[in-house]
C-alpha cells in the first residue's frame, strides 16, 4: 500500500518533469520524486504493527522482533536534508535563469541556443 | 656488325618502299575518285623540295621535337623485323611492347615540337591525335595480347616463324580484322584522319612546318607507317621470306588506301565510340576464343 503510494508519486514526479514547461515545476516534480523515494525507504523498514525502535525493557510486550527498522529512518533524514539542498540550489539557479533568460518557461526563454 | 647493316637496310628499304607506296596510294585514290592523280614518285619530289627550301623555326623545342620525332621513328624502324628471322636486325630486342613504346617516343617528339610552335591549330591537332590513339590502340593491344598469349611469345621474329604453317590471320580471323581496323587509325587514313583534317584545322600538327621541317617530318611519317604496316604483316601474315613480305606489305597498304579513299572523316567522339564499340567488343571476343582454345 505504502509502496504503491510511493510508486504513484514517483510516476507523478516523472510525469511532471516530462510534461511541464515551467522550470519551477520541474523542481517541484523533482522534490515529489525525492519524497516518494523517502516514503519508499521508510516503508521498507516498517514492520506491521511495529514499535518505535527504542530499546527499553520498561515497555510492555517488548520484543526486538517487533521493532521498526531504525536505519531507514535515519537514512531518510539525511536524504531529506540533501533534497532540501538540491531544492534550494535549484530555486536559486532559477532566479538567475529568470534574470538572464527573462523567463523560466522553457518555451519563452531567450538566448538558449545551442 | 651484321645487325647494323640489317638495320640500315631496314631504313633504306622502308624509306623508298613507303614513299613510293604513298605516291601509289595517291594515284589509286585519284583513280577511285575519277581523277588522274600525281605520278607515283610525286612524294619523292615533295620531300626533296621541302628539304631544300629555307625554313622557319619556332624556337628550340620546335627543332628538338622534330629531331626527337625522326630519331624515335628511325630507331623503331631499325628494330622491326621484315617478315623473316633473316631480316631481323636485333632478334633479342624485337619484343612487341618495346617496339610499340619506342614508337611512342617519336610521336611524343612530334607532338611536343608541334605544340611548341605556338600555333593553336597544332595544339588542337595533337589533342585529337592523342585521343585517337586512345581509340585505336586499345582493341589493337587486346588482339596483340591474345596473339602473344596464343603463341607464348612477344618476340616478333618468333611470331613470324611460328606462322610458317599458317597465317595468324587464319588462326584468329576476328583478331586480324580488328587489327586492320586499328591499323587504319594508326596510319591516319580516312575515316581516321581527324588529327590532320586539312580542311578543319589546317593540317593540325603540321600547320607551322616549313622547308626542311616539313621534309623531315614527312620522312618520320614514312618510317612510322613502315613500322605500323610491318607490324601488322609480321603478326598476322607471318612466314615466308623478304619477297613475300614486300608483297604482303603492298597488299595491305593498297587495301588500306582503297578503303580510305571512299570514306568521309569521323568526328572525334564518333571515332572513339566506333573503336570502343564493335572492334573492342570483338577484340575481347577474340581473346575469349583464344582463352577457350576456339581458334581455327
Amino acid at each position: 500500500m505504502v509502496y504503491g503510494i510511493s510508486i504513484i508519486l514517483i510516476g507523478i514526479g516523472i510525469y511532471g518533469l516530462m510534461t511541464q514547461k515551467n522550470l519551477f515545476k520541474h523542481i517541484v516534480s523533482l522534490s515529489i520524486i525525492d519524497t516518494a523515494v523517502n516514503i519508499f525507504i521508510v516503508a521498507t523498514g516498517y514492520v506491521s504493527n511495529g514499535k518505535a525502535p527504542i530499546y527499553t525493557r520498561a515497555l510492555p510486550g517488548f520484543s526486538p522482533n517487533s521493532f521498526v527498522d531504525p536505519l531507514p529512518q535515519a537514512l531518510v533524514l539525511t536524504a531529506i536534508v540533501i533534497g532540501v539542498g538540491t531544492l534550494a540550489l535549484g530555486a536559486s539557479l532559477l532566479v538567475r535563469v529568470k534574470e538572464k533568460h527573462s523567463s523560466i518557461n522553457v518555451e519563452n526563454m531567450k538566448g538558449v541556443g545551442e | 656488325m651484321v645487325a647494323a647493316y640489317k638495320a640500315l637496310f631496314n631504313l633504306v628499304l622502308g624509306f623508298f618502299l613507303v614513299l613510293s607506296l604513298e605516291g601509289v596510294g595517291r594515284k589509286i585514290t585519284a583513280r577511285v575518285q575519277r581523277r588522274i592523280g600525281p605520278p607515283w614518285y610525286q612524294n619523292f619530289i615533295d620531300v626533296f623540295k621541302a628539304l631544300s627550301k629555307h625554313p622557319f623555326s619556332n624556337g628550340w623545342v620546335f627543332d628538338f621535337g622534330v629531331l626527337m620525332a625522326l630519331g624515335g621513328a628511325m630507331a623503331t624502324a631499325m628494330i622491326v623485323p621484315m617478315g623473316s628471322t633473316t631480316w631481323t636486325p636485333f632478334p633479342n630486342s624485337d619484343n612487341f611492347f618495346v617496339i610499340m613504346y619506342l614508337f611512342a617516343v617519336g610521336a611524343l617528339g612530334m607532338a611536343m615540337g608541334m605544340v611548341g610552335s605556338g600555333n593553336p591549330w597544332a595544339s588542337i591537332g595533337v589533342s585529337r591525335a592523342l585521343t585517337q590513339m586512345l581509340g585505336y590502340e586499345l582493341p589493337y593491344l587486346i588482339v596483340i595480347s591474345s596473339t602473344i598469349f596464343y603463341y607464348k611469345t612477344a618476340s616478333i621474329h618468333k611470331l613470324v616463324e611460328l606462322q610458317k604453317n599458317g597465317w595468324n590471320l587464319l588462326v584468329m580471323p576476328l583478331g586480324g580484322i580488328i587489327a586492320f581496323i586499328s591499323l587504319m587509325g594508326m596510319l591516319g587514313k580516312k575515316p581516321f584522319d581527324i588529327s590532320t583534317a586539312p580542311a578543319e584545322i589546317a593540317s593540325g600538327p603540321m600547320t607551322e612546318l616549313s622547308g626542311k621541317y616539313l621534309g623531315l617530318l614527312h620522312i618520320m611519317h614514312v618510317f612510322a607507317m613502315f613500322v605500323e604496316v610491318s607490324l601488322f604483316v609480321d603478326v598476322f601474315l607471318g612466314g615466308g621470306n623478304l619477297g613475300w613480305y614486300l608483297v604482303k606489305f603492298i597488299v595491305v597498304w593498297v587495301l588500306a588506301v582503297l578503303i580510305s579513299s571512299v570514306l568521309p572523316r569521323f568526328r572525334i567522339e564518333q571515332m572513339l565510340k566506333f573503336y570502343w564499340g564493335v572492334p573492342l567488343g570483338l577484340a575481347f571476343l577474340n581473346a575469349l576464343f583464344v582463352l577457350l582454345g576456339w581458334t581455327l
Binding site: L17, M18, H26 | S52, K53, H54, P55, F56, S57, W60, D63, V66, G71, G72, M74, A75, F90, N92, N95, F97, L102, A104, V105, L108, A111, M112, V115, G116, G118, N119, P120, W121, S123, V126, S127, R128, L130, T131, M133, L134, E137, L138, L141, S146, I148, F149, K152, T153, S155, A202, E208, G211, K212, L216, I219, R267, L272, K273, L288, L291
Partner: protein, 627 residues
Amino acid sequence: MAMSTLLVSLVATSVVMYFISKASWKIGAILNFLIGIFLISYVFALSTGTTSELGTLFGQKLQLIWTNASYYFSLVSLLVIVSVMLFAIKWLDSQKYPAAFNMFLLMMTAGSLGVFMAADLITLYIFWEIAVLSSMLIVPMGKKESRKAAVVYAVMSASGTYMYLYGAFLAFQRYGTLNISEIAKHMVSDPSTGIKATIFLLLASAGIAKSGIFPLHTWLRIAHGNAPDAFSAVLSGQLVKLGSYVLMVSVAALPSLKIFSNIPFYSGIPATNYFLIALGATSIIIGTLMAIKQDDMKMLIAFSSVANGGYILIGIGTMDPIGFEGGVLHVFNHALAAAVIFMAFASVVYRTHTKKISELGGLIHKMPITFLAYLFAIISLAGIPPMSGFISKWMIYQALVRKGMFITAFIAFFGSIGSFLYVFRPLAGVFLGQLPKKYKDVKEVSPIMWLPMVILVTISLIIGIWPFPILKPIEGMRMDFGIAPTMKIADSSHWLIKGFAGNWNPVLVFNLFLIGFVIAYILYTLFPRPKKVDLLAPHKKEGAPINIYTGGEFIYNPDLYQYNTKFYAGFERMYEKHPSWEKLLEMLAKFFYDLGEWVHGWFFRPSPSAYTFWVTLTILIVFWVRW
C-alpha cells in the same frame, strides 16, 4: 649505429630541428639535407639481415630488420626526400612555416624508414602513424583549401590504418605473434580460409588507403593537389609508397599464393589477390579518366598517382615473378617521376603563383631546365623508353598477358595510353604555346631548385638504360618471398631483361634511339638553316605581331591563342556526367555530421523534460530486457 638508435635519434633531432630552423630556416634546411645524405650513405652501408630491437611494448618485442625490401624502399624514399630537402633550401622562402616544415619533414623521414625496417606489425604501425601524423601536419601549410585537405587525408589514411590495426590484432590473437615472418608461417598452416582472408584484407587496407587505391583514393586529389607544392612531391613520390610497401607485405611477405591456394580464382591467382587486382584496375580507370580532365596541374598528377598505384598493386597482386618485379620496380619509377613532376610544378608555382593549366603557357621560353626535367619525367611516367618507367610497365604487361588476364591488361593499356594524354596536357598548357603577358618577367628557378630535378631525371634515365643495379635488390626481394626463386629475369651479363615471351636489351634500345637521333641531326644540319620566328615578339615590343600561320591574320594578342582550356574537350564530353565517388564519400561524411546534429538535438540540447524522458526510457528498456 643501430637502426633503433638511428630512428629514435631522428625523431628527437626533428624536434631540435624546429628550434634550429626557428633561428634560421636556411641552416635548418641545409642540415636536413645533410642528414638526408647521411641517411643515404647509412642505407648503402647496412647489410641485409641486420636486426635491431626498439624496446618492448606490452610484452611484445618491437623489432627492426633490414631486408632487401627495406633497402629498396628506403633508397627510393630517401632519393625523393633528399631531393625535396635540397629543393626546399631555396623553395622554403616562399613558405609561411619553414621551421615546422623542416621539423615534420625530418620526422616523416624517420617514420617512413621505420615502416620499411619494421619486422612486426606493431612497429610498422607505430612508425606508420608517425609518418602520417607528421606529413598530415605539413599538408595544411599550403593555400586555403589545404586545410580541408589535411582533414580528408587524415581521415582516409586513418580508416585504412585502423583496419590494418584490427587485422594485426586479429592475427596476434590467433597466432600469438606480431612478427611478420612468423605470422606468414602460421597463416600457411591455418585451415580457416575466412579468417585468413579477413586478416589479409584488413592488413592490405592500410596500403589501399595510403597508396590511393579505389575506394579510398579521393584524398590524393585534394591532399596532393593542395599541399605545399614541394611537399606534394614527397606525398606522391614517397608517402604513397608506404602504402605500396604494406600492400607488398600483405600480398608477398605473407605468401598469398600459398595461404590462399585453396581459393584459386583465375589462372592460379587466388580470389583475395584478384580482389585487390580488381581494385587496382578500377583505380587505373578512375585515375586516368579523372587526370585527363583536370585543369589543376597538381590534381592531374595526383590522379595519375591513383592510376600508378593501381599498376603497382596489379603487378604485385599477380604474384607472378615478372609481374611482381614490375610492380615493385614501378614503385621506383613512379616515385622519381612524380617527385620530379611535382617539383617542376612547384617551381612553376614558385614563379607564377598559379597551378591552373589554363592560366599558364609558354614557360619553356623562361624556364627551359624545368621544362626539360618535366619532359623527361613524363616520358618515364608514360612508360616510354629509354626512361626507366618503361621497364616496369613492360614487366607488368608481360605478367598480365602471360596469365591471360585480358580485361586487366586492357585496363593497363588504357591507363598507359591515357597517361600519354594526361601528361601531355600540362606539357602543352604550361610549358609550350604562348606565354601570357603577365609572366613576361618570370625567370628560371635557382640551381638549388632545378638541380634535384635534374639529378632524379638523370637517375631515371640511367636506370632506364642500365636497370640492373635496381633490379638486383628487387630480385633479392623476390627470392626472399620465394616467388619462383629459380627464375632469372635480369640478365646483366647479356644486358638482357628476360620476359616469358621474349627479351629485350635496354642498352641496345637506347643506342638505337641515339643513332636515330644522330642521323636525324645530321639530316637536320645538311639542309638550309632556318629563320627564327620570335614567339616572344609581342612581349618585347608593344604592338608587334607574332609570325605564325592563322589563315592570313596577324596575331597581336598571343595569350588568346593559347589552346589549353579543355584540352581534350572532345573526349571529356564523353564522360562529363560520370558518377562521382568523391561525392558519395562526402555524402557519407555528411551523414555522420547530420547524425551528430541529430544526436545533439535529441539528447543533449533539449530541456530537462527530455532528459527525464530518456532516463525513464532507459530504465524501462533495461528492466524489460533483463527480466
